[in-house]
Symmetry: C2
Subunit: 482 residues, 2 copies
Amino acid sequence: MSKKEDFITQITKRSEDFSRWYVDVIRRAELADYSPMKGVMVIRPYGYEIWELMKGHLDGMFKATGHRNAYFPLFIPESFLTKEAEHVEGFAPEVAWVTMGGSEPLEERYAIRPTSEAIICSMYARWISSWRDLPVLINQWANVVRWEKVTRPFLRTTEFLWQEGHTVHATAEEAQEETLKILDIYRTFAEEYLALPVIAGVKTDAEKFAGAVRTYCIEALMPDGRALQAGTSHNLGQNFSKAFNIRFENRDQELEFGWGTSWGVSTRLVGAIIMAHGDDSGLIIPPRVAPHQVVIVPISRGNWKETVLPEAQRLKDELQAAGIRIHLDDRDTNTPGWKFSEWEMRGVPLRVEIGPKDIEKEQVVLVNRMNREKAFIPRAGMVAAVQDKLEEIQSALFARALKFREENTRDAEDFETLAEIMENQRGLVRAAWCGSPDCEALIKEKTKATIRVILEDPPDEKAVCPGCGKAGAHMVLYARSY
Amino acid sequence: MSKKEDFITQITKRSEDFSRWYVDVIRRAELADYSPMKGVMVIRPYGYEIWELMKGHLDGMFKATGHRNAYFPLFIPESFLTKEAEHVEGFAPEVAWVTMGGSEPLEERYAIRPTSEAIICSMYARWISSWRDLPVLINQWANVVRWEKVTRPFLRTTEFLWQEGHTVHATAEEAQEETLKILDIYRTFAEEYLALPVIAGVKTDAEKFAGAVRTYCIEALMPDGRALQAGTSHNLGQNFSKAFNIRFENRDQELEFGWGTSWGVSTRLVGAIIMAHGDDSGLIIPPRVAPHQVVIVPISRGNWKETVLPEAQRLKDELQAAGIRIHLDDRDTNTPGWKFSEWEMRGVPLRVEIGPKDIEKEQVVLVNRMNREKAFIPRAGMVAAVQDKLEEIQSALFARALKFREENTRDAEDFETLAEIMENQRGLVRAAWCGSPDCEALIKEKTKATIRVILEDPPDEKAVCPGCGKAGAHMVLYARSY
């Protein structure tokens, strides 16, 4: 068995077992590893670099819309977490509790934040007293803990990293506007940076955030036919303001409760791009969030260190100067073939090969990770060609994922069709919904599918709810989900 | 009482009560606030922006020296924390313990990381098997928790933010080289970015990190005469490698334990610059880490919104285009005088004033926060003048702090002198030390001063230890410290 084959067979084929492939590729590409604690993962440098790039782009988008970062405590006193009734009911079962400080038991135990509304709203109540103090537009990048029973790296872990925005506004309209503005940032970010087509919409009451008036989300379809919630933006109305007494004097000098929003995306997005774009050979990372957008592999023949390597170094310098994230694999312990497989597995979207013949012909070879197509490019036009190719790959990844979603979105006009699709093909199913939580619960119980989003377009006159056969009030998308 | 005076009197004068001034200015400038939990603070956007700028610069320096970021768990199983004997002894009294997940008690309680050697080394043991895997150069930006009895915002809080680097090397020499390389990064960062003169040196055994072979640190002198440890770099030798079984096959194919380092700086640095540079009117933030390097205050006379404001906006655009962090205070609810005081209190290093007369004269007025000196600058040369002035302020802050330290570093050849200085003037005291922990402990007990660093230069032949009167083995710096 050649070294190359040996190497590749360490990853289960995606086409054979999606779920094992996912875990294999994460560990083999050194994105993450399991920690000694159940359900807790370690994000390794290569995985963390993807998250850093995501953070950088998102943070810029938040700041461009007037948000500022801050940092609130990891701990929430139990009595604060319980102030908003729905909120505590939703989160209490997943909370990790601190009960000892040093050798002394605490008088009141502290929750480790599963989300920070409770502690942040208690501070906002102090800081806000007039309409002049509004809006408050604050975000934080932080770790949170949710005691999960079933975990998967990046997708659902006991501790994860995320950003959580928390805002307060003077009117209901402004809070709604903010909720939708953020939803749009998330959609734009997912589609333009992660090459992840998403459907943005509102959740049903059963699926909304504990304590919110309305939860909006972006949902993506994964290649195994399951939906992934990739980000949420909540309109909190006055729920938390009332629970935490966030009041301000409005322009008419009357005391009024503030109008809140909160919103977040997490390291789950790293899991989303692994699943959405990878293939049997490993990862394919969208160029805009790829730690290495390009890897240069020098063809090591003869005295390559004197001939090929200096030229490879010049290519690296030129690409770096153009702002491209570039890695030159100059190891002499591995063959070029081994390196090709290695960097394909790690998902570097574009490879540059340079050997003695290429130098002679004044060309470089570009290899597209998606389809392994080779392009022979004149040396002089390399930088522009690489930039074009990266853009092309970014777009092609999006187009491929969109095509997959479209091919896997089906209509169901009755329960049997819905159940049959969920059993055999999965994917998204467009159906009418009467609006009753009972039908939603029944369908979930029988098909394991939940309503992922309520669509904006109204149903046909004849459309009926697969649950009860009555007229549809909304069109919705059903799917099994992560 | 004028609005301006009213405003300023909200802060205790630094010259009257340094300690109260420190807390007043933090809260009044909205750098941080107390949370509902004892000893736990909230970092507000203005304070967090300073930390973000610090992070950005330091992160660049770490990456430029080959380090990569990662993320390790918040939790450490108790059995891991106890593997290195000195380490657990040092940290156990300050640990917050998680004992419940949801409604179930944990089989083994989890420490919330007070520092991450224990969890990180357990992962390194898995990842490292050959000399080819070395060095491992990883850093993480994270929150840590230490259950402190006496706390002060930024300087000592139950939870704080920091970076912690953890490296493993193939030889003792490389580990020592890394320890000193990082120490030098810290020194450079403190001096060049924070305008904070520091003394870099090694700690005594009594003051070293629990589990380290040798701890190096940078120490700064604060205006109240107390020393502040501003960063530490530890050579861990093979202590943690032996405790966690980090072994690698060396080039001679023998199994060997790895050689470790760890190093960190924290949000304490924000406290350091507040104390080091502020004055009776509030903060003075060094330009390189100032969220707003320049504030433009338009002089609001007559129809200023039509005349002055558009010109102020143009100034802003020009300065922004030159990469200067700029804020235009265009509020019409406050007078220029009020704004001057407000931004002085918030420590913006340079103010640009622009009024009808200035427009007429084609000039702008620059006001230096350190000394309130005004400079009238031709409009055309404004950007360059602002850049020069910011550099000048950055240097002047450093020079002023250095002068203070030099004036407050004294020699003590006997115990009485040392005790007298610690009682009356404080500051740093240079003295000989015999090398005995007993003398160190005695002096600490009697004067509250500890050895901050061991200096490199050897003592004079005649120099004696103030503790025992015997010959000095080293010259050291004593101080009371934060």
